[in-house]
């Protein structure tokens, strides 16, 4: 909580420019984008960022530890495919059963992929960029082999609970997102483990000489990232009611963009979940507004690039 208050008071003092930018952007959209200011649309934005949010939380862990995880999209795809195939064998699965399957599959697939990444990085000393790029190929390839590039569909209704249903007026996927964001925030700011991630990301040698198990920390962040990516893949499959090997291509860049845009340092040690959340919101608002404004697809690409740049430039200029 400390930090959050810090964040807000910093904004008031004009220090956290990116949050200021997000607020300004939101205000501009409220005024100028038709139908932006409806409850339904705000809900849409939240739903639209929820998948990226899960992945970006995991990415925050790896980037803070001075790593990176390029395999997130592929892990999401393979988990989605695996979960869909599994649930397909139970046409009458109940909602709790579906949720159980989703959580179990995330845990298993995410842990396996993440542990392989983590092992190569922490134990075999492979640069994170390479190790996770290799995993990106391997997981994606296996998803193709497994499904022959055909979507796995015809899933039981109950499978859609997490991705499609709402509890009251709040979509389940949004609740899940908020929960994961909160959990990640707590881990990173309130626990020793979180502090160790920052330490390792700031300076591995110092961390080691201070008695932190650097290998363990580096290993574990990839497992976390793997599990959250797999979970994202399953929410995606649930939302789309199928699992497909081509899902989530290029999501690593979206997630990295959200993390880096908020101000988390790409070389580790500085930043955190609040920054990632701001990045997610800014990107989510831009995407939504451009789409509501009916900007052509090509110009959307250009505009996205320019706005991200402007946001970061303003942020840097203040420092």
């Amino acid at each position: 909580m400390n930090k959050k208050n810090g964040g807000i008071s910093k904004v008031l003092k004009g220090e956290n420019t990116m949050l200021l930018f997000a607020v300004a952007l939101f205000a501009v959209c409220l005024l100028f984008v038709p139908r932006f200011a409806t409850g339904g649309n705000i809900k849409n934005i939240l739903i639209q960022i929820s998948i990226n949010a899960l992945i970006a939380c995991g990415m925050t862990f790896t980037i803070l530890s001075d790593g990176i995880d390029l395999s997130v999209g592929s892990v999401a795809a393979i988990a989605g495919v695996a979960g869909a195939s599994l649930i397909k064998t139970m046409p009458n699965a109940s909602v709790p059963m579906s949720i159980l399957i989703i959580l179990l599959t995330s845990l298993v697939i995410g842990t396996v992929c993440g542990a392989l990444n983590g092992f190569c990085i922490a134990k075999l000393n492979v640069p994170p960029f390479i190790a996770t790029m290799a995993m990106m190929n391997v997981a994606r390839g296996l998803a193709y082999v497994f499904t022959d590039a055909k979507p796995v569909f015809g899933l039981p209704e109950s499978f859609g609970f997490i991705g499609l249903r709402e509890l009251g007026i709040i979509p389940v996927s949004v609740i899940l997102m908020v929960f994961i964001i909160f959990l990640s925030y707590i881990i990173l700011t309130k626990t020793c483990y979180g502090r160790y991630i920052y330490a390792v990301g700031s300076n591995k040698e110092v961390a080691k000489l201070t008695g932190i198990n650097v290998d363990q920390v580096r290993f574990s962040v990839y497992v976390i990232s793997g599990i959250l990516s797999a979970l994202a893949g399953l929410v995606l499959a649930s939302k789309l009611q199928n699992g497909q090997a081509t899902a989530a291509v290029g999501y690593e860049l979206n997630a990295i963009a959200a993390v880096a845009m908020g101000g988390t340092s790409m070389s580790g040690g500085r930043g955190g979940i609040p920054q990632t959340v701001i990045g997610l919101i800014v990107i989510g608002i831009i995407n939504n507004a451009l789409s509501l404004l009916g900007v052509s697809a090509y110009w959307q690409t250009v505009a996205m690039g320019v706005i991200i740049l402007i946001a970061v430039v303003i942020d840097q200029a203040r420092k």
Binding site: P151, K239, N287, S291
Partner: protein
């Protein structure tokens, strides 16, 4: 196949004419009734692909004629992004939604969402696992068959020889073209051997690379079937560079392909889809539906062969 295609598209254009007339007659009436200036939300699979581009152009022309507004979005091959776009369309309260789904499965939830909001959904090109009002598409398996027929009838008339395929393994509709092609040969000309199938993943340069490798690996390839025109362009550059005699059959009917066929080089034929037909027919179906008429749940636009004879 070719004749069927013509009849369908001829019928389609006739319909168009009729409707335009009708629209002219009822112009005065329409101004009174609300909703004549419709907004249609369109989410394309990949608007950076020439094929979808042509669909878009045709739709825009047609929409202009109707006095409608089109809101075209690009899903860039990502189902999740497409879902987001459908949600935005619902927010915008469009009158109808057109989706070119990123995959045969997965658009069901989008259709349901829109239905809940009372907005009719139409699909194009790739069939959905949900129930749209109407689905307008090319038959991809059929397209593959057409290419194979062309090989048997016009190139390897003795029903003997070696052929290869450059496929796009990650895209379902392209894999359908591949299987349509190979299955037809297996059944009708077992002596024409498919000696190599390679993936180009949508990257022209990779198509050039795999073609290079195929030429080296196999002593003689008579024909290469490319599941998309970009692959054919890549293949052409390697075949030209190697000075090989391999003939190319492409797929899509894009202008650059037609230009090559007219030149009379190795690229001899192309399976043409009729993107303009797909686009137009879809809008027509929407119009009918909004005016309360009944429309077929599936309208197939048959592909047809372009070769030196009918290339224009």
């Amino acid at each position: 196949g070719g004749s069927a295609a013509k009849s369908t598209s001829a019928a389609a254009s006739e319909q168009t004419e009729k409707q335009t007339e009708k629209a002219g007659e009822t112009e005065a009436k329409k101004e009174e009734t609300k909703g004549e200036a419709k907004t249609i939300g369109v989410s394309l699979l990949n608007s950076t692909h020439v094929f979808y581009n042509s669909i878009q152009t045709a739709m825009e022309e047609q929409a202009k004629e109707y006095g409608w507004t089109l809101d075209v979005q690009d899903a860039a091959g990502d189902a999740n992004k497409q879902l987001g776009q459908v949600q935005d369309f619902i927010t915008k309260k469009v009158d109808a939604i057109v989706i070119a789904p990123t995959n045969s499965a997965g658009s069901k939830s989008m259709i349901e969402l829109a239905e809940k909001a009372g907005i009719p959904v139409f699909t194009m090109d790739i069939a959905s696992d949900g129930k749209p009002v109407t689905h307008v598409a090319t038959d991809n398996k059929k397209g593959g068959q057409l290419a194979a027929e062309y090989v048997v009838n016009n190139i390897l008339t003795e029903k003997k020889g070696n052929v290869a395929v450059i496929t796009y393994s990650e895209i379902e509709s392209c894999v359908d073209r591949e299987t349509g092609f190979t299955d037809y040969l297996k059944e009708n000309a077992p002596d024409i051997k498919v000696v190599d199938v390679q993936n180009y993943s949508g990257d022209q340069q990779k198509a050039a690379d795999v073609m290079q490798n195929m030429l080296l690996k196999n002593d003689n390839i008579d024909v290469v079937f490319c599941v998309g025109d970009p692959a054919a362009i890549g293949a052409l550059s390697s075949i030209t560079a190697a000075n090989a005699a391999t003939k190319i059959i492409g797929y899509d009917g894009n202008p650059e392909g037609v230009a090559e066929i007219k030149k009379g080089g190795n690229w001899v034929a192309d399976v043409a889809q009729d993107p303009a037909g797909i686009g137009k027919t879809t809008l027509e179906a929407i119009k009918k539906h909004l005016e309360g008429e009944k429309v077929d749940s599936e309208i197939l636009i048959a592909p047809y062969i372009i070769d030196a004879k009918n290339a224009k």
